[in-house]
């Protein structure tokens, strides 16, 4: 199934901004992080379709997953 992955801030370095990936049914957010070589403690926020998700979230066809490191501002 096709999903979209969006990376932000330092996670873009040596990776990409946005990419489509064909992944197996049942793929979780944690699986995606592992494939991208992103350590979970580095992750600050995860969004699917604009909602916060946890790493055990099972992705479905057409999902857009946004991955942010710990950042803030104000």
């Amino acid at each position: 199934m096709l999903i979209t992955i969006k990376l932000f801030a330092t996670f873009r370095q040596d990776r990409f901004r946005v990419a489509e990936r064909d992944v197996a049914e049942g793929t979780t957010v944690a699986d995606v992080l592992r494939a991208l070589d992103i350590d979970e403690p580095e992750v600050g926020m995860l969004f699917v379709r604009g909602r916060h998700v946890e790493t055990d979230r099972v992705l479905v066809e057409g999902d857009a997953l946004a991955i942010f490191p710990l950042v803030g501002g104000g």
Binding site: R17, G44, M45, G50, H52, F68, L70, V71, G72, G73
Partner: protein
């Protein structure tokens, strides 16, 4: 810090007064709000002789504490009609503190047409008639004062907008590079202008490092504090690299980035105006990605942003400004946004109120969406010169919206709502509605816990727990605003217990006290209550603790969210 300077502009006299015992334990916001509440009649006209403008360094300003370089300015606000405290960086806070000055109170109003400069020194204040800098922008004014007095002087000044007493005007503070930091919100520039004070020049001569009750303990606590700032990913790395503008993509992704005057929560060109894009441009053009706004800042969220030719365009290029111009006003070119930012700094106008006002003016048809060139023209030709059109715009967001008969006017207590839509991020809506300041994200930054997963997690789209979250944050913020510390210490403070403990220890070691965390919370509560009582007496009752109606009537994409918090639940905010 053992003296209060009281400058009476009615008879052009100055008194140096001892600090009353009940003010001794106060600084920053706690002190400005206490003085305003004690001495300013809540029903007075903000631009009349009974209003007072108060500057106060924080409780830790002037010490070696990291990030303690901020100070507060307070008055009754001509924008909100309520009490106002605004915080700024720059070099003046440390100088004022090291001169032993607890607060500077500017009161009264001169009868004639003359303008004045206040030269603040170790023995008092000299009131001099000012002519040379009148009509000049803030950058040129700083240059003139540097040349007149020396680069080591602090400068606190108005731009043209403050001289014209516009509600969008701010008060600018010289930073370490002789650029500008701002007491941004609430139209405080108009209050200073109403007293015909163009500028304060702060003479560092005779200033001395502050005496500490327990130097060893202070040093140790500051070491711990500094380590927590370095250890937290937001204050230690994130802000330094991308600045606050890293939030453009975060808030866009969360569906809460107010776009095209708050009609949708995501912006198609978000990547063009993002912190990531800003960083790439800065590096490619040999600017500075990280930069301190005040001495001893180690977070360094500021930056120097150059144009395509490598020439200085602006610094202190903030998320709020970029959002307001780029998403709310639909300007797609980050370089144009930077140029407007610099012009706003030069005119001395609030870079939240002004662009949010322009987005409302765009909706009104006064200028096309995204037309940065026309906006620059209106700033330079109309606002700077106070033409009738400039005065219409200079009245702020609410003023322009009313003039054009609009209903989608994003203000609370007549102050523009900043960069987070309250419908899909409900915690910040509680802060906008209830804070004594009018719509102000910094008063209780619920974004931390609603979106950034700092200080725990509270679902942004649900009402549950938001009043309590905002209350706790507003109390803590009022306390932090009293210390002279940058509010961004809240990121480690929310996640690392040793952070707040070390701040309390620094206060104890500075003053020889035995405060606990509970005492600091009590200070924060007391500040909010003093401010609330002032607002109630000024006519800002519970009916003004609410968001504009359009948030209840219009749902916002992508979450199809409306503001639906019960007004009675909101009112429980003040149950403490």
């Amino acid at each position: 810090m053992h003296k209060i300077y009281r400058v009476n502009m009615t008879d052009l006299s100055v008194k140096v007064e001892p600090v009353p015992a009940e003010w001794a334990g106060l600084g920053g916001r706690a002190l400005t709000s206490t003085i305003v509440a004690a001495e300013v009649p809540p029903t007075c006209h903000p631009l009349g002789p009974n209003n007072k403008l108060v500057f106060a360094p924080g409780l830790l300003s002037g010490t070696a504490a990291s990030n303690a370089g901020r100070f507060s300015c307070g008055a009754k606000s001509p924008l909100t009609g309520g009490i106002k405290e605004s915080s700024a960086g720059g070099t003046s806070s440390r100088i004022i503190a090291r001169l032993g000055i607890k607060a500077i109170i500017v009161e009264g109003q001169p009868a004639g047409d003359a303008w004045y400069a206040l030269v603040v020194g170790k023995d008092g204040v000299e009131i001099r008639e000012e002519t040379e800098t009148l009509g000049l922008g803030t950058f040129a004014t700083v240059e003139k004062i540097n040349a007149r007095h020396g680069e080591d002087f602090g400068v606190i000044t108005l731009g043209p907008a403050g001289e014209h007493m516009m509600a969008i005007s701010n008060i600018s503070v010289k930073d370490p590079e002789s650029k500008i930091r701002s007491f941004g919100r609430g139209g405080l520039g108009a209050v200073m202008g109403s007293k015909r004070v163009k500028l304060l020049a702060i003479d560092p001569t005779g200033g001395a490092p502050l005496a500490l009750a327990d130097p060893a303990k202070f040093k140790e606590a500051n070491r711990t504090f500094t380590k927590t700032l370095a250890d937290h990913p937001v204050s230690g790395q994130g802000l330094k690299k991308y600045g606050t503008a890293v939030l453009v993509n975060v808030i866009n992704e969360a569906g809460g980035l107010p776009t095209k005057n708050f009609t949708t929560g995501q912006c198609d060109h978000h990547d063009q105006i993002s912190g990531e894009q800003m960083y790439d441009n800065i590096v490619a053009r040999e600017g500075e990605p990280s930069h301190p706004c005040s001495p001893a800042c180690q977070i360094q969220c500021s930056q120097v942003y150059n144009d395509k030719d490598g020439k200085y365009l602006t610094s202190g290029f903030e998320y709020e400004t970029i959002w307001a111009l780029g998403a709310d006003g639909m300007i797609k070119d980050l370089d144009v946004i930077a140029e407007i930012d610099n012009v706003m700094d030069d005119l001395g106008v609030d870079s939240i109120e002004t662009p949010v006002m322009f987005a409302v003016a765009m909706e009104a048809g006064l200028l096309p969406w995204g037309d940065g060139a026309r906006m620059l023209q209106l700033l330079r030709e109309d606002i700077a010169k106070a033409t009738p059109l400039g005065r219409l715009l200079g009245g702020g967001t609410g003023h322009v919206g009313r003039a054009y008969g609009l209903t989608r006017i994003p203000v609370v207590k007549n102050q523009a709502i900043p960069a987070y839509d309250p419908r899909p991020i409900k915690g910040i809506g509680v802060t906008y509605a209830t804070t004594t300041m009018g719509a102000d994200h910094t008063a209780g930054y619920a974004i931390a816990t609603n979106i950034l997963n700092v200080g725990g997690k509270v679902d942004p789209l649900k009402n549950d727990g938001q009043v309590e979250l905002s209350r706790n944050l507003q109390i803590a913020t009022a306390a932090v605003d009293s210390t002279g510390l940058c509010l961004f210490i809240a990121f480690p403070a929310l996640d690392i217990p040793a952070c707040l403990g070390s701040v309390v220890e620094m206060l104890n070691a500075r003053y020889g006290l035995a405060l606990t965390g509970d005492d600091v919370v009590a200070l924060g509560k007391n500040v909010l209550k003093i401010e609330h009582a002032f607002n109630l007496a000024a006519g800002l009752g519970p009916e003004t603790d609410r968001l504009p109606e359009f948030f209840e009537l219009e749902s916002i994409a992508p979450h199809d969210a409306k503001w639906d918090m019960d007004q009675k639940e909101l009112a429980t905010f003040w149950n403490f």
